[in-house]
Amino acid sequence: MIVNLLNPVITNRSLNQMSDEEAVSLYIESQNVSYFNLLYDRYNDKVYAKCISMLKDDDRAEDATQEIFVKILLSLSKFGGKSKFSTWMYSITYNFCIDSIRKNNKDMTTPFEESRMDVEDDSLFESEILEISVSRLKEVLDEINADDKSILMMKYQDDMSIRDMSDVLSKSESAIKMQILRAKERFLKIYHAKYEEVYS
């Protein structure tokens, strides 16, 4: 309350023009909730969309959204500005959801093993996947494992670069390319099995 009174008047206009990174540093400096609310208003829908896609349950997704934002709030001082704020926030979101799925034993996949093989072309199978209708995409995404789903969402939903993913997941760029390729292969395998009659 005292901090709010001491701070200059923050108009909606000045808040809207502020970058995410500016809002983070101003929140750390002043602890003024308005800056955090700005980030929440900008991203809560996207965080929720990722949670519902990963967790497949509305109540769990809402609870996860709340917990993720509290986690973000408590670790804002650790945000070093190495990547974009949204990239950093999405990485917390994906990690939270993957941990939550593992705790509930609904996903029994083993962690991805780093491969020495180098993938030259990471756009392989891309056009086929991007041509799938939204309803079928949802159905297939609901069947693939959490690691594959999160890496595909990072690439096609969040437009993260290989470098960003490498930073976020603490893996080499070649390992990320291989993980994407494997995820696409498994995605298409399920897709073809599910809609086999369409092709036959």
């Binding site: 969309a49 896609s53 809402e62 939204v134 949802k138 969402m153």
Partner: protein, 73 residues
């Protein structure tokens, strides 16, 4: 035009059942709670620290050795 992954994201947002303000209120309640706890710690932690320090310093013993009436011979 957005790709199918982005369309799926939009669809999930459109179908969101709970109003986002509800979650926002809960998060703000958390923020106020953390603020309250940290202000309590700000006020009382130095005092607790000084109490612990007073137990550890040998000052207590020296005090007891001193005469109750320092001016008395």
């Amino acid at each position: 035009m957005d790709n199918n992954f982005k369309e799926l994201e939009k669809l999930a947002i459109q179908n969101r059942l709970r109003p986002q303000e509800e979650t926002k209120k809960k998060i703000n309640a958390n923020i106020h709670f953390f603020g309250f706890v940290s202000s309590i710690l700000d006020v009382y932690l130095p005092k607790i620290g000084s109490v612990i320090m007073s137990f550890q310093t040998p000052d207590n013993h020296t005090r007891s050795d001193k005469s109750k009436y320092p001016n008395q011979k």
